[in-house]
């Protein structure tokens, strides 16, 4: 019995990947440790992220119509497969709590200073619960609307900011030492581009399975290019002081003042950033609930959405004590911490599937490696 009946198209997937990846990187832009060379780091990061994506896309191509939890069960067997699935689901769960904590920190430190963080957290998670319960189709539809309007607004703010651009802030180019630049590039790849590994829980619900690879690559490249644009914009507006800000995009947008009429645009920009965060949290909440339901062989994932959301909210409160600690975590620890989940698990699963010749080309047929013994004898 299928746990999810909704279906999404490739355009929806591209939009969802964009909203998902831009979600938290809009708050803490990637590649910042490279300073003015951040845009170069992000461009290198796109290449690395595409390589990481190629691994999990090969895996999903080998097992069309299966989530990572089901793939692990087929490749590793029922016991080890469950352990691998739990490790992967932990990553989605932790990532969801990080996003939630990040947004709560953003709003409670810049806008709603006197509001208790738990109230902000509850407001965000309630909407995510509602979306996750409705299914992936509804989340994707929300994504198409949010991303379309958000992109238009991004272009509009960049246009308004163009009069403050100081191209000299980008020069001299490539002054960052190579190890630091490559580390920044790796940081940009793991946060947020390769986080699209979470879509291993979503790919099975794509209308046309052949669109999975082009749609994912398009989504990652598109996101990377927009992130590069944001990095350039922040650098040419804020200059070297950009590194001092925790939320440079917010501070870049606050400078907009067109004839004393168009100003305080940051409120609207933050609303769009929040909407992207909603998309990311909703996808992760959906992924964890669906994965847990598949892990426990349940008939529906919906009863698990609220309990998982409660636990995610609690962890969100205990991730980092302040936004500075979040920046430290993203710059120093996350590029190493995320790698086993983003690359090692899919790569290991793919290698073992290739060695054991386990595959499932057709979504409705049994995997080749698990044919009933009678059929093998007949052959």
């Amino acid at each position: 019995m299928a746990l999810e009946k909704g279906r999404i198209n490739s355009t929806g997937l591209i939009m969802l990947i964009f909203g998902f990846a831009v979600g938290s990187s809009a708050l803490a832009p990637s590649g910042r440790i490279a300073g003015a060379d951040a845009w170069i780091a992000i461009l290198i990061g796109i290449a690395e992220a595409l390589l990481i994506a190629a691994v999990f896309l090969l895996l999903t191509k080998r097992f069309p119509g299966k989530t990572l939890v089901e793939i692990s069960d087929i490749v590793y067997g029922p016991y080890l497969g469950k352990i691998i699935s739990v490790i992967f689901l932990w990553y989605l769960f932790h990532l969801g709590s990080l996003v939630l904590g990040n947004y709560t920190g953003y709003f409670s430190s810049l806008f709603l200073v006197r509001t208790p963080p738990i109230v902000l957290l509850a407001s965000i998670i309630l909407i995510c619960v509602s979306a996750a319960k409705k299914g992936i189709e509804v989340i994707t539809r929300c994504g198409v609307i949010i991303v379309s309007v958000g992109l238009f607004f991004y272009l509009l703010t960049t246009f308004f900011l163009s009069k403050y651009f100081e191209i000299k802030y980008l020069q001299p180019v490539l002054t960052t030492p190579a190890p630091q630049l490559l580390w920044a590039a790796h940081g940009a790849a793991t946060f947020p581009l390769a986080e699209t590994v979470a879509f291993l829980m979503v790919f099975p619900f794509l209308n046309n399975k052949r669109d999975t690879v082009p749609a994912t690559f398009t989504g990652i490249i598109f996101t990377g290019l927009v992130m590069t644009g944001v990095a350039v914009r922040n650098t040419v507006v804020l200059g070297p002081s950009e590194k001092a800000y925790i939320y440079p995009s917010f501070h870049a947008i606050t400078t907009i003042n067109i004839a004393e009429i168009i100003n305080r645009v940051e409120i609207v920009a933050s609303l769009f950033i929040l909407c992207m965060g909603f998309l990311k949290t909703a996808v992760l909440l959906y992924g964890v609930s669906l994965g847990t339901a598949q892990l426990c062989s349940l008939r529906s994932y919906r009863p698990l959405v609220v309990p998982v959301a409660v636990l995610m909210s609690i962890l969100a409160l205990y991730n980092f004590p302040n936004p500075v600690e979040f920046v430290r975590f993203v710059n120093n620890a996350y590029p190493v911490y995320a790698l086993p989940f983003q690359l090692v698990i899919p790569l290991l699963t793919l290698i073992i599937a290739v060695i054991r010749k386990t595959e499932q080309r057709d979504g409705n047929s049994e995997p080749k490696g698990r044919r009933p013994p009678t059929e093998s004898k007949r052959r």
């Binding site: 030492p177 698990l304 409660v310 636990l311 980092f320 600690e325 975590f329 620890a333």
Partner: protein, 72 residues
């Protein structure tokens, strides 16, 4: 605050758990109850000011100790 928390969890039980009992979805009921109970216990502990360590600094410290990171 504790009363508010209990009220919140009663609301969740009424909306999420009771329909599972009505539909006789015992497996779903068991998993959802375990997760919800874990959430409730953790919430109560937080209410009573039990200090849990923050996760991100712990991971950052471990990573910085193990790996020579160019960013740190």
């Amino acid at each position: 605050m504790v009363l508010l928390l209990i009220a919140l969890f009663i609301l969740i039980i009424l909306l999420e758990i009771v329909p599972l009992v009505k539909d006789r979805q015992w497996k779903e009921l068991a998993v959802a109850s375990v997760l919800l109970a874990a959430g409730f216990i953790l919430s109560v502990l937080i209410m009573y000011d039990i200090d849990f360590p923050f996760l991100a600094p712990v991971i950052s410290n471990i990573m910085e100790k193990w790996v020579a990171l160019p960013g740190s």
